[in-house]
């Protein structure tokens, strides 16, 4: 049963990708959807067995690599962290599958699409169920690959190609860090198994290893390198640029990438490596500050985006920032709790956005929508639920996790805690603001789109509404019903899967912070909602005046252009690297040094020297006679005086002569 959870999606992928053209789009849809639903049911069973009853499951399938001290097995580890991830991944993924069957119904490549989705789920499950870092890396790279395939699904569009390559390359930067992290783990711990490493971590605190004559603290280095991987995958500040561009793919793909899979892998890695991170407070500080900055940054950028999906993408980025700084403050369980809740309502938001886009003839610009409240009432209601959950409206899912994150941040009573509390609270205000803006511009304001489009807008039926409706339920109730189980005081839900040092625990402290700081995020969120609503309803003219004023324009540009991150990356980093690639590595090394010293240069040299040697043959007999005399004299002289020359001849001189000969002209 445990293996079926992982391998059913693979079965769906293999069968549909090989025989998709024979069983047709409908057949492939039925097959993959059923595989995913079965997988979800098994996940629920395993959730019951592992998380609720508490019988962790270890499975060793086969030996993968067995070479001296390097032992890597295909093994699966099911503990609380894994099964909760499995449930979320398979749940959201099955709904996305069901949704796609209608959303992509008119696409000629539906079978390919479904097979990619299944492969994506499979790799994500491999990622969460692995019992060692290398197998986790298989899933890690696999989801990167599938994100490439899926973002690039409409491969005839140049924008989709560019976005997919960007996602792949930017992810690779993080993956490189992760690879280095795994390598340094192996070098120091001589193992890549979770169990072995985490048992050994306390022994390695303060130990150093030597690299290029510099001493590095072992676990600090490992922690930072693993976090670099998490930055790339979870789109934290610095490597976040791929995430908004990933919107080029079909909308269910965005839902899958942003909600349940892919971006959650970074947070999962942090939570999984909690026994490691607990012993490196420095890295935890870095994680906290970067996460909080991401939360704030993405919230400000989301404020002034005009693309429907891009707004939601930036809210993903922002929410991931919350999760990451929760992990940085040692509240891994809270981070994972927010991850789970976020998966539900973000999937809901994205699928709802897909439904809207479907309704208005693939128009993604919010400024060209409006007035859809009456036309797509069901989508409107689920989007409102999703948005309210996202802004942490009391008693919806998002409220429970977001509030506990911010409380824990304040209750940490350190400067990093206050920093993240401040940015997180302000980010909550901004989140509420732009979510309401999204709702307002899409549904509430007067219709701004083309008449032909607006007239034909209607709610999609069956599968789309089914997926949306099912997702609405956990978006409303999941937080309330699972809060005590997952992050309640003294809960034994996590078992040994998450480890927190006693001195880092602060869940109890956060219960005793001042009331005003507990209530502040919610109040600010509600304030954000009302501000946004009233500003957009009653003072559009003022807003427009503000926007076209000198300072307003600067602000608008700054936020609309994403703090000029892309501009900076493209114009300085990208240009610099391209220039480097062209002038240094291509022109100087490849065409320069390798051409001169390589085979081409050698053959040129020999033919050139041969031409020179040919000139010795003048045709005059006395020249030949002289040459014979000179050469025989030389040989005889060398033979006679070798005991004198032999001491002074340095072979390195000949090396220099031969190198010089490459550069001689004529």
């Amino acid at each position: 049963m445990y293996l079926l959870i992982v391998f059913l999606p693979l079965l769906g992928f293999v069968y549909v990708s090989l025989f998709g053209r024979f069983i047709g789009p409908k057949g492939s849809s039925i097959l993959t959807v059923n595989c995913l639903i079965l997988s979800f049911l098994f996940s629920v069973c395993s959730f019951y067995e592992v998380a609720l009853i508490g019988s962790n499951t270890y499975l060793k399938l086969a030996v993968w690599i067995d070479s001296e001290s390097l032992n890597i097995d295909w093994g699966f580890l099911f503990d609380s962290l894994t099964v909760i991830m499995c449930c979320v991944v398979t749940f959201v993924s099955s709904l996305v599958h069901i949704y796609s069957t209608e959303y992509m119904a008119h696409d000629p490549h539906l079978a390919r699409f479904m097979s990619y989705l299944s492969l994506f789920t499979f790799f994500m499950l491999i990622l969460v169920t692995a019992d060692n870092y290398v197998q986790m890396f298989v899933g890690w790279e696999g989801v990167g690959l599938c994100s490439y395939l899926l973002i690039n699904f409409w491969f005839t569009r140049i924008q989709a190609n560019k976005a997919a390559i960007k996602a792949m390359v930017v992810n690779r930067i993080g993956d490189f860090g992760l690879t280095l992290g795994i390598l340094s783990i192996f070098i120091n711990f001589k193992s890549v198994d979770y169990a072995t490493i985490f048992a050994l971590v306390p022994l390695f605190t303060g130990n150093q290893f030597n690299f290029l004559t510099l001493d590095f603290d072992i676990i600090t280095t490992i922690g930072i390198l693993l976090f670099v991987g998490a930055i790339g995958k979870s789109a934290q500040l610095g490597l976040h640029t791929w995430l908004p561009d990933a919107m080029e793919g079909p909308t269910p793909v965005s839902a899958l990438i942003h909600a349940a899979t892919m971006v959650t892998a970074g947070v999962f890695l942090l939570a999984r490596s909690s026994p490691l991170y607990e012993y490196i407070p420095v890295v935890l500080d870095i994680i906290t500050i970067l996460g909080a900055s991401t939360a704030f940054f993405a919230a400000t950028v989301g404020l002034l985006q005009n693309d429907l999906k891009r707004v939601i993408a930036y809210s993903t980025c922002s929410q991931l920032g919350y999760m990451v700084f929760a992990c940085g403050l040692s509240n891994y369980s809270v981070g994972v709790f927010h991850l789970v809740n976020h998966a539900f309502f973000k999937a809901l938001l994205f699928l709802g956005a897909g439904s809207i886009i479907h309704a208005v003839a693939d128009e993604q610009d919010m400024r060209k929508m409006g007035g859809l409240k009456r036309l797509v009432p069901f989508t409107y209601s689920v989007m409102v639920v999703g948005s309210l959950a996202l802004i942490g409206f009391p008693f919806l899912t998002g409220f429970y996790s977001k509030d506990i994150i911010l409380e824990a941040a304040y209750g940490n009573f350190t400067s990093k805690g206050h920093y993240s509390y401040l940015l997180g609270t302000f980010g909550a205000f901004l989140t509420a603001f732009y979510s309401t803006r999204l709702i307002y511009l899409t549904f509430l304001c007067k219709p701004n789109g083309f008449r032909t489009v607006i007239c034909k807008a209607y709610d999609s039926s069956y599968q789309i509404c089914f997926a949306l409706g099912v997702l609405t339920i956990p978006s409303i109730f999941a937080g309330y019903y699972t809060k005590d189980m997952i992050i309640g005081l003294g809960t034994d839900f996590w078992g040994s899967s998450i480890f927190v040092l006693p001195e880092n625990m602060n869940t109890i402290d956060s219960e005793f912070i001042k009331h005003i700081f507990k209530i502040l995020p919610v109040m600010l969120s509600l304030l954000g909602v009302f501000t946004s609503f009233f500003v957009y309803t009653f003072s559009n003219a003022t807003l427009f005046q503000l926007k076209i004023s000198y300072i307003g324009k600067k602000f608008y540009n700054f936020f609309n252009k994403k703090w000029f991150f892309d501009k900076f990356y493209n114009e300085y980093l990208g240009q610099f690297l391209f220039n480097f690639g062209y002038t240094i590595s291509y022109k100087t090394i490849d065409r320069g040094i390798f051409e001169i010293f390589g085979p081409m240069g050698l053959s040129n040299l020999i033919s050139k020297k041969a031409l020179h040697l040919k000139n010795f043959q003048t045709g005059y007999i006395y020249h030949y006679a002289f040459l014979i005399l000179a050469a025989s004299t030389l040989f005889l002289g060398l033979r006679e005086f070798w005991f004198v020359f032999g001491n002074f001849v340095d072979y390195r001189i000949f090396l220099i002569f031969s190198i010089i000969s490459f550069f001689l002209k004529q």
């Binding site: 003048t618 045709g619 005059y620 006395y622 005399l629």
Partner: protein, 103 residues
């Protein structure tokens, strides 16, 4: 036996040989002189053989001298034959005019 001044005698033969070599190399005029220089070199070698044959009291050196004499005679005969044929053909024996042996 005269053993003390063999170097003195050898000097003569080596000098003769070098004169022959220089005549071979420095001469730019005449093929006839080349053949004469070669004869000179062979003679100096003969002299060398004879000196060592007497010095070492070994007959083999004199045998060699006889052989070399015959070889030198045939060689100069063939050389002169080539020379006359060449002269018939080109009407000159100047070395500077012989430059068609360039590859």
């Amino acid at each position: 036996m005269i053993t003390s001044n063999i170097n003195y005698v050898l000097n003569i033969s080596v000098t003769l040989f070098l004169i022959g070599v220089l005549g071979l190399v420095l001469n730019r005029k005449n093929i006839l002189i080349i053949i004469m220089s070669i004869e000179l070199m062979l003679l100096s070698v003969n002299l060398n053989f004879l000196i060592f044959s007497i010095y070492l009291d070994d007959i083999i050196g004199q045998l060699f001298v006889l052989f070399i004499l015959t070889i030198a005679a045939t060689e100069s005969a063939i050389g002169l034959a080539i020379l006359t044929v060449y002269y018939k053909l080109k009407n000159t024996i100047q070395i500077e005019k012989i430059k068609n042996i360039k590859t």
